[in-house]
Symmetry: none
Amino acid sequence: MPIEINLNSLEVILVSPRNPLNIGAAARAMANFGLSLLTVVAPWEPRWPEMLSEIKSAVGAEGLVQNAKRTDTLVEAVADCTLVIGTGTLTYRKPEQPVVALPDLAPIVQRELAHGGRIALVFGPEKHGLTSEDLSYSHILVEIPTQPAQPSMNLGQAVAVCLYELAGRARPYAAHASTSPQPATAGREELLASLVEELMIASEYSPAGMRQANRHDLRLLLRRLTLSDKDARRTLGLLRRVLYTLRH
Amino acid sequence: MPIEINLNSLEVILVSPRNPLNIGAAARAMANFGLSLLTVVAPWEPRWPEMLSEIKSAVGAEGLVQNAKRTDTLVEAVADCTLVIGTGTLTYRKPEQPVVALPDLAPIVQRELAHGGRIALVFGPEKHGLTSEDLSYSHILVEIPTQPAQPSMNLGQAVAVCLYELAGRARPYAAHASTSPQPATAGREELLASLVEELMIASEYSPAGMRQANRHDLRLLLRRLTLSDKDARRTLGLLRRVLYTLRH
């Protein structure tokens, strides 16, 4: 029995977009391919959200732009999501997460949606793309197979190509509703990261100067684990107890 | 073995584009996916070709824009081509040519190129797309599978999606050396399990009667995580420190 892709569980997140034309172009591509949930993280535009009504490039997607969520941080934006997919050119990076070529992404997305997951597709700002810190919130990274000589795509075009692959092109895959456990949300993972950090401090594991580096590594480590929700709750329970005992 | 597409025999033709930003965006997508031959038919812009140097959206494709051919008519533009592919939304048309969905186009293009053919991919003006007369020069028509409620794509995005399908997606993908990390040994996992168990006891998390059940669950949990050796060692380091602090 083919799985229907529930496009209401697939969100687009734009981190610090600078050019309103690109926000509009992203929204238009979303409307073309049937998506509706757009979040903008820390938009550069100082007149946000008033300027939304001026975005001319969102042809046929005006409502979608008006309903766009706005958050200050990426961590807030992905809190509800069970699979966070970072996008970008990885030519000059050595990512720690698995890198998936866009043509291979659809089965992964469909599997996640079939298990009741919620997916964020995250795009960085025009000039530099996602930072290493942004990427550390991603479970996997996706790369569009472009030419090495000219790898960097325009933001609106990158969104269109990704959504074409995931929502336009994708045919129903023959998969069965499986009994895989529900994955932990990014919010729960972040809670776990904070708790581990408190443990590090309480046990004086982490010299103050190392904390930033540790938090980054820790976030990556937790993403790699792809914890189930149940396992995440168990681990939280134990660590809370340990922390309590350490402090009393 | 995938067929090597000779991208020098695949041209993009824009018929009467109105917005220079879109010419630039089309050129940028061509550079992203390794194409170089652009023809503009009867551009609306009266300052053509002088204005070409002002096109800011052609990031990394400035030379491609400068070398763009210009013709007055579509028939001139396609004169050398053996396969002319018209693009557009066909919702309100009854085309006489075969219509191919974009996901099915690559094999047709590859066959034509393998026979030494030359292909034109033709895009219409922003507002109305290709006219019936324009379409009459096409051998086949291609349709991007968009939502019926919002079928019409932005020109630059449509070019990007088509070229991704034909040139990006088909390209053998050299995955980045995201060298899979060495997995943790079973011995290391067992060490970790013991340490977590000691933590449970030291923090009085585990009532004595529950210990057996916990150990079992814990082992299963640790196996599910499929820790890398590096992550396992890091986690061991932290937990040893926590345990030490708990006991002193």
